[in-house]
């Protein structure tokens, strides 16, 4: 069975899903990621779904679960590259990706993780002024469909 490779860039883990996932591969990925977060001490996970043509309730749930597990292990998850058709379908399906942060592409996703890292280590006064606006508008904020 195909296993999705987990790459490491600095303290960020990168998962790029390149093929139509079978349910079992999805469960394997969940396990692999949890192991790697612990063994690598990563503080962030980027899941790139640019190549993914559909996200059904099973894969959607996997994304939310990975985000929760990672958070518990001290890493933040960003899902990047969701296609418009996939996003529209998810909304119609009624699927909530509660707690999953999203970004348009890999670069923006990495920036969010680096930014939140910096934020945790102390924001500058200037940035704090914009914090309120950021909470409303910042792309990649928590996405909740409910």
């Amino acid at each position: 069975m195909d296993r999705v490779p987990v790459l490491q860039i600095g303290r960020i883990l990168l998962v790029s899903i390149q093929f139509d996932l079978e349910d079992e591969s999805v469960l394997n990925l969940q396990e692999d990621l949890a192991d790697r977060i612990v063994s690598s001490g990563a503080h962030g996970v980027v899941i790139d779904i640019t190549a993914v043509e559909i996200v059904d309730s099973f894969i959607g749930r996997m994304l939310a679960t990975i985000a929760s597990i990672s958070r518990m292990l001290g890493a933040e998850t960003v899902v990047v590259g969701m296609r418009p058709a996939v996003a529209i379908t998810l909304v119609e399906l009624g699927l909530s990706l509660g707690g999953v942060r999203t970004a348009l592409d890999l670069e923006k996703g990495m920036r969010i993780l680096q930014g939140s890292r910096a934020g945790r280590e102390g924001r500058s006064g200037d940035a704090a002024a914009d914090a309120a606006a950021d909470r409303i508008l910042s792309p990649g904020r928590d996405t909740d469909l409910r």
Binding site: V79, V80, M82, R83, P84, A85, A87, I88, L90, V91, E92, L97, R101, T102, A103, L104, D105, K108, G109, D130, A133, D134, I136, L137, S138, P139, G140, R141, T143, L145
Partner: protein, 288 residues
């Protein structure tokens, strides 16, 4: 009394005396043409009424083959009604006409039970062919017209929903006119695709030109915003006029934590600020 009238009177006599049987046979022949889209009872009712109206016309009209004669007024009204209802049920003009032509076969069998008049039978086959020829040109004509209408509707959709890039990282779609489900779907897809193509994290949906917002349109807007968020972008809805704000509140639609602004300028300023661009002078806004 001209010669033809004698034969005509004979036909009227036959049609009157055997109406029950003829209508029944007509319905039987017409049933397959409706392919279950219409109940047999309904069809019987329809064809029964039409039969009486045609019979009345054939009896009273100066020229019994002229459908435009005053005596056929009721028949014409019924036919118009049948055509309309068939069109609504998704029948093609061809299917509708073939169901009506079935009466010819039924009446011929009644006039010439044994099929003794071979020449006439042959002519009837030829007449069927001519019916088909007429219908074919008619249907081609309708289809061409429909194509034109569809093309125009599509062009209108395209024209009415331009997605424009306002700034690095900010796209906007100014909506003008009534929003229906199909149009909102097109807007939604175009806007989301523009986010990907331009790498924009901010989208402004400006509804200044939308006269009214109902529950469905509001739902569509909400879905667009949620889909954009799933992709990692934020939408701002701008141009909400006072009466629309009132409607939205009155309808009890939850706009949740979606950022809304009174004008496109305000929305742009908001988007620019959050992308880190310095905006010094306050942009002129509608409410100022």
């Amino acid at each position: 009394m001209p010669d033809g009238d004698v034969n005509g009177a004979r036909l009227v006599e036959l049609l009157t005396a055997r109406r029950e049987q003829l209508v029944t046979e007509w319905v039987e022949k017409a049933v397959p043409t409706v392919r279950g889209r219409l109940g047999e009872l309904e069809l019987r009712q329809e064809l029964g009424e039409l039969y009486e109206a045609l019979l009345g016309g054939v009896r009273d009209a100066r020229n019994p083959s002229d459908l435009h004669d005053d005596a056929f007024g009721e028949a014409r009204a019924l036919l118009a009604e049948i055509s309309r209802s068939r069109a609504r049920h998704g029948f093609t003009p061809w299917e509708t006409a073939v169901g009506l032509f079935a009466l010819k076969d039924v009446v011929l069998t009644a006039v010439d039970p044994g099929g003794r008049n071979a020449e006439y039978l042959a002519f009837l086959d030829f007449s069927r062919l001519l019916d088909a020829v007429g219908l074919f040109t008619f249907e081609t004509y309708t289809r061409a017209r429909e194509q034109v209408i569809n093309d125009q509707a599509e062009q209108l959709l395209e024209l009415a929903t331009p997605v424009v890039k306002l700034w690095e990282g900010v796209v906007a779609v100014p909506l003008v006119g009534t929003l229906d489900s199909a149009r909102t779907q097109v807007v939604m897809e175009k806007l989301l695709q523009a986010l990907v193509d331009t790498g924009s994290e901010h989208a402004i949906i400006d509804i200044t030109g939308v006269p009214a917002v109902d529950t469905q349109v509001a739902q569509h807007l909400l879905k667009t915003v949620v889909a954009a968020r799933l992709m990692g972008a934020e939408c701002i809805v701008s141009g909400i006029r006072p009466q629309i704000a009132q409607t939205i509140v009155a309808l009890g639609i939850e706009f949740g934590d979606i950022v809304t602004k009174a004008s496109l300028a305000d929305a742009l300023r908001h988007a620019l600020r959050s992308t880190g661009v310095q905006v010094d002078a306050p942009a002129p806004s509608l409410e100022a």
